[in-house]
């Protein structure tokens, strides 16, 4: 080892960081070289002197000053302890600006949605007023009923947050499935309609309706009429059946006879039931044929008897099914219409109650209107808070991140442990 190499190892040797191998090599050199030995000794001595310099006296005012600073700091720390109270203004401002930029990008979207919401709200208000004062629409006809139904559906969609539309979709799927199973099969629907009609002349209306029944391959099922105290016929009831296909035409004709005061409509889809029965009937017929063949071959009395028993059971099933099919066919082929007929009330000389009539009902109705209006308002408020929630969450997250960044920067000067 040369002197130069040795001298380079001196500081590491003095400070005790030299590896055992290098220490050994260095010591070999030192034994040979007096100059290096003395150099190292003096450096070691110097290091020792520097390390053993006496303590610097701490000025007497140092500790009190330090104490004062510590008290000051912990007082400040104590006043700003609750994390939700301090240093949130800036993070929130930054986050809000950020979110505003995002919102600005999709503002058209949100505005569009809000508009839609308002329209829906108006719609539902209309519906509730319609329901509350039905007597204000005496010319109510079939079309009004339909539009009311539509309105109530859209109302449901708003209130139930799409649940209604989900249900509708589900029904549609079911129908699609069954129609796939009975493809090319004719739909079998039992149709019923009912009407309440105010007619000028009762007997004329009654006769016209009866005529309509026979005109459209149907018949009058039942009818009755009632009279008032003076013996005049004041109203009645007639139930007819007409060919299902011409139900709409017949209803129109009946409606034209007088003022429609209410109308109802119902349909029952029995397609599945009808074709199930047909399928079962077919199966039983096949079974009957094979039983007849067995019967021909049967020779012993017990065999014949048992086949007979089975044949009887199958035949009764066939008859029952045929009956059911006939019944369904008849129900679906012919729609039934119930018509309630009334004549206008005779002019009476009694005291007219005018606006006072049904006062309680009217109060109740307006009370319900108001309650409904309020409930709708609350529902829309909750729905609108749905818009706000993700935005608020986003603001909170960004504020947190910003705070962390600022905190990290502030702590950067304090070294890792």
């Amino acid at each position: 080892m040369k002197c130069q190499e040795a001298k380079e190892l001196f500081p590491v040797y003095i400070d005790g960081f030299l590896s055992p191998e290098e220490t050994q090599e260095l010591q070999l050199h030192l034994e040979e070289c007096r100059e290096c030995r003395e150099d190292l000794d003096s450096l070691q001595e110097l290091s020792h002197i520097l390390q053993s310099m006496p303590d610097v006296p701490i000025p007497p005012e140092f500790k009190p000053a330090l104490h004062a600073r510590l008290v000051e700091i912990s007082a400040v720390a104590r006043t700003e302890v609750p994390f939700w109270q301090r240093r949130w203004t800036k993070p929130f401002a930054v986050a809000a600006v950020f979110v505003f930029l995002i919102a600005a990008a999709s503002v058209g979207n949100i505005l569009g949605n809000t508009e839609h919401e308002t329209i829906a709200l108006n719609n539902s208000r209309n519906v509730s007023s319609d329901m509350a004062v039905p007597e204000e629409s005496p010319t109510a006809d079939y079309g009004v009923m339909k539009s009311q139904a539509q309105k109530s559906i859209s109302d449901d969609a708003v209130m139930g947050g799409g649940e209604a539309s989900y249900n509708m979709a589900a029904t549609a799927t079911d129908e699609a499935a069954s129609s796939a199973a009975y493809e090319n099969a004719e739909r079998k629907v039992i149709r019923n309609a009912s009407l309440s009609l105010e007619v000028p002349e009762y007997q004329k209306a009654f006769d016209s309706i009866s005529a309509l029944a026979s005109q459209y391959q149907g018949y009058v099922v039942s009818g009755n009429s009632y009279t008032d105290e003076e013996g005049n016929i004041s109203g009645g009831y007639i139930s007819i059946r007409v060919a299902s296909a011409s139900l709409d035409t017949v209803l129109e004709n009946i409606s034209s006879l007088g003022k429609v005061q209410s109308s109802g409509f119902s349909g029952q889809d029995v397609t599945t039931q009808y074709y199930d029965n047909e399928a079962r009937l077919k199966q039983y017929r096949v079974q009957e044929q094979s039983l007849l063949k067995i019967m021909e071959k049967a020779e012993t009395v017990p065999d014949i008897l048992s086949v007979e028993t089975e044949l009887t059971r199958v035949r009764s099933e066939i008859e029952s099914l045929e009956g059911q099919i006939r019944y369904l066919k008849e129900l679906t082929d012919l729609a039934s219409i119930d018509v309630n007929l009334t004549t206008p009330a005779q002019e009476s000389q009694g005291i007219s109650l005018g606006g006072w009539s049904e006062l309680g009902n009217k109060i109740a109705a307006s009370f319900i209107t108001s309650i409904n209006w309020l409930l709708n308002g609350f529902a829309n408020l909750i729905i609108f808070s749905g818009y706000l929630l993700p935005i608020l969450v986003l603001i909170l997250i960004i504020a947190l991140i910003w705070r962390q960044i600022v905190k990290a920067r502030r702590n950067k000067k304090i070294p890792p442990q």
Binding site: P11, S42, L46, Q51, D55, V56, P59, I414, Q417
Partner: protein
């Protein structure tokens, strides 16, 4: 870590000032020594030492006991001294990398400036002052390395990390710093018999 110290740390982390003062008292002297050797005067030393202790107090909640408390405290002290020295030299508009040009000896030119050293040294107190003057005369870069090593006892690795310089630089600065101080002492010894006990042997040119 001693149980007492562990308990004191826990209490200090909850904001107990008395506990913290008790805890830091064991380290206070070394912190002050370091600050004084580094800054060279009581005024700056008090400021830096207080700053370092306040930093320890503020950062205490983040202390996870992965290192010994002493090591951690000395790291903070070293960083505080470094920051203060760099701040002072920034305000004096002179870069640490620049050599301080003086009329004194060629050997010590880039390492220290002994031009303001007292000429005569008498008695023990003066010897200590003389040594402090020697350290003060070192350029900040050398002074920091020397103080961190000789006063605070940091390893080369720790010094390198604190000052953000390489291990080789640390080693070379320690070597050259020691030699520079030794040359100066050897030279002064001829005029000041009181210094005789400082560096007994040596004197040969390195």
């Amino acid at each position: 870590m001693a149980f007492d110290e562990y308990e004191l740390i826990c209490r200090s982390q909850k904001g107990d000032i008395d506990a913290f003062e008790q805890l830091i008292s064991a380290y206070q002297q070394k912190i002050y020594n370091t600050a004084y050797r580094m800054m060279g005067n009581y005024h700056d030393a008090s400021d830096v030492a207080q700053e370092a202790i306040i930093k320890v107090y503020k950062a205490l909640s983040g202390f996870r006991r992965e290192a010994s408390f002493g090591t951690w405290v000395y790291h903070i002290t070293a960083n505080t001294c470094r920051d203060e020295i760099r701040r002072q030299y920034r305000t004096h508009e002179s870069s640490l990398d620049e050599c301080i040009q003086t009329d004194s000896g060629e050997i010590t030119k880039e390492i220290a400036d002994f031009s303001h050293m007292p000429e005569y040294v008498i008695g023990e107190k003066e010897v200590e002052e003389y040594l402090q003057e020697l350290i003060n005369a070192l350029t900040p870069e050398y002074r920091m390395v020397m103080v961190l090593r000789e006063q605070l006892g940091l390893s080369y690795q720790e010094i390198a990390e604190t000052l953000e310089i390489s291990m080789g630089t640390v080693k070379s600065r320690i070597n050259r710093g020691r030699r520079a101080l030794r040359e100066k002492i050897t030279a002064d010894k001829e005029h000041n018999p009181d210094l005789m006990r400082l560096v007994v042997r040596g004197g040969e040119k390195a």
